[in-house]
């Protein structure tokens, strides 16, 4: 971290080398788990640096919950998202609270089963909770549906890479259910057709 090295790095810092994601919802929706799996996949399967943080209330359950992921070519200094490139809102409150931080070119993804009022047209609505309930049979895995969507939308890491981490992280008995939810999320995005979105950078998969 000497001055000289710092100077060199500073130049590289320009451009889209830093990509920020924020996930917002309520405690118990599992967004921190989703963020963690996603971030770990990026760390494990790409050369990029990744930093995942969260914040939550002191409550056992309930309350607001937030998770953030920063992806960068460089070691990451400030670990939090300031102007997210992508905001994934799992409920209305999260959408309302965090939308104003979103980068002007950023994308908003909402769980359309729970968010009624979307503050921009540049948004993507996917009914994560509904998909979880209907296609997987368990609302609890809405976070995994969202994870699938996130993977597909950001292209920061291959779905295969994320799935590998996901399967290692979830409890034994629930592997199938979670995989199903994850894949349902991917399909849901694919169904939306070609979206021209900014994304972190090429995926360098090294599975």
């Amino acid at each position: 971290m000497k001055g000289r090295k710092g100077k060199k790095r500073r130049k590289e810092q320009k451009g889209l080398s830093r990509y920020e994601i924020r996930l917002g919802g309520s405690g118990g929706q599992g967004i921190i788990t989703a963020a963690r799996i996603f971030a770990e996949a990026v760390s494990e399967h790409t050369r990029k640096f990744v930093c995942q943080s969260q914040s939550y209330g002191p409550e056992a359950r309930g309350g607001a919950s937030k998770a953030e992921i920063v992806i960068s070519e460089e070691p990451i200094d400030y670990p939090k998202a300031t102007k997210p490139d992508l905001l994934l809102a799992m409920n209305q409150a999260a959408c309302d609270t965090y939308f104003s931080d979103l980068k002007s070119e950023g994308i908003l993804v909402v769980d359309s089963s729970l968010v009624d009022q979307v503050p921009t047209s540049r948004s993507i609505g996917i009914p994560f909770t509904e998909i979880a309930r209907k296609e997987v049979g368990k609302e609890l895995v809405a976070n995994m549906v969202a994870l699938g969507a996130l993977t597909c939308l950001t292209k920061a890491v291959s779905p295969k890479g994320v799935e590998k981490i996901l399967l290692a992280k979830v409890p034994k008995g629930t592997v199938e259910m979670n995989r199903k939810a994850f894949r349902a999320g991917i399909s849901a995005v694919k169904k939306l057709g070609d979206l021209d979105l900014p994304k972190p950078e090429e995926v360098e998969e090294e599975l």
Binding site: G3, S53, G57
Partner: protein, 380 residues
């Protein structure tokens, strides 16, 4: 740090990195009591320690935890506890025992917000002065502050090394942000890591004078059960370890306690600097705030301000020399902290009117942002 993907690359939380650091340093004993945001350290060690033949115990409270790690250390183990503010307050009395009885041990305090129960899930840097002064009676102590997951690994090892080398408790300050942030770290191969063990007495038991002075000021330390039967007490003691009220013995003892740390200043007082060489204004920061500061320095440079960062890795003994250098070189320094100004007081103290010292304090439960720091830098 290499950008190459390698076998040593991990995706870890700050608290996990502390665990890895501790195990690497040779920690074999942990006693603790759960508390947010430090609990993961206990939880993971409860699984890992028995795997390496070590011992984990969850005690009835933090007072007991501190007592147990001192006992464990006296029995020869490298020992550690981890807590947050409320628990750290409770550890203070026994922490003083470790100082006066010269028992190596590591105390990790993952800082959270506010006095009392405060803001259990928010980051803060409110326990900095407490780490230095929290126990009664004047005493020397070593306090380090981690700012990244990588740091958490490396500084935990340093903490053990200092503890063992100087026979002193070492406090490692982390905070909620560092503790719970997960990031990519690269752990160096074991053989590249320098591990220090305490020096055992080399003389036969009859000759062993457990608290005798020597050139380093640090007497060799025998473990209970090794055949050196000696006395350890929290009372001020003579070179044999027995209570004394003789002014000459008291003074010699107290002076040595301080001297052993003073003699180690060179290696103990760690800082990192970033773009400081030609800086005209500098940020002096530590912990997670140093990360914001780094970004802010880059951003300020983009706006034409010759900014730099001096990151304090060791908070106490306060790295006075390095700070003075910066104070001499710069027109102004900014000390951003998640408190009302604690290290800024130390900076002012050594400043002696040389330089403008500004504070930036945030107490609302959020991390100081790069923007906040940059804004201040632009104002100076």
């Amino acid at each position: 740090m290499s950008k190459k993907k390698s076998a040593n690359r991990y995706f870890l939380q700050g608290n996990e990195a502390v665990v890895e650091g501790a195990l690497t340093a040779g920690c074999t004993f942990f006693a603790g009591y759960p508390i947010t945001p430090a609990s993961e350290i206990s939880e993971i060690l409860s699984e890992r320690l028995p795997q390496v033949g070590g011992t984990f115990i969850q005690m009835e409270d933090e007072i007991a935890s501190m007592g147990a790690i001192i006992g464990a250390s006296l029995a020869g183990a490298k020992s550690m506890t981890a807590t947050s503010g409320p628990g750290f307050s409770l550890m203070q009395e026994n922490l003083g025992f470790a100082c006066i009885a010269e028992v190596p041990c590591v105390i990790v305090n993952v800082m959270r917000g506010g006095p009392s129960t405060g803001l259990p899930t928010n980051p803060a840097q409110g326990d900095v002065m407490q780490a230095r002064w929290g126990t009664h009676g004047d005493h020397p102590i070593v306090v380090l502050a981690t700012s990244t997951v990588q740091d958490s690994f490396e500084l935990t090892i340093k903490a053990f090394n200092f503890a063992e080398k100087y026979r002193t408790p070492v406090v490692l300050l982390s905070d909620e942000v560092v503790a719970h942030t997960r990031e990519t770290v690269e752990l160096p191969p074991r053989e590249e890591i320098h591990i220090i063990d305490r020096i055992a007495p080399s003389m036969p038991p009859e000759w062993y004078i457990p608290f005798e002075d020597n050139s380093r000021g640090v007497p060799p330390m025998a473990a209970f059960g090794d055949g050196y039967r000696y006395h350890v007490t929290g009372l001020v003691h003579d070179v044999r370890g027995f209570p004394t009220q003789r002014p000459d013995e008291i003074e010699a003892f107290m002076k040595r306690l301080f001297r052993k740390i003073t003699q180690g200043f060179n290696e103990i007082q760690m800082t990192k600097d970033f773009m400081i060489d030609d800086a005209k204004v500098a940020v002096i920061a530590y912990g997670s705030v140093a990360r914001s500061a780094k970004r802010a320095v880059l951003d300020a440079r983009d706006r034409g301000v010759k900014a730099g960062l001096l990151q304090l890795v060791t908070l106490f003994p306060f790295p006075r020399m390095k700070v003075e250098e910066v104070l001499r070189q710069c027109r102004a320094v900014l000390v951003p902290e998640l408190n009302m100004g604690q290290i800024s007081r130390e900076v002012s103290r050594v400043n002696q009117g040389k330089c403008q010292v500004r504070k930036l304090n945030r107490l609302d439960g959020g991390l100081i942002t790069p923007e906040q720091i940059m804004y201040e830098l632009l104002k100076i």
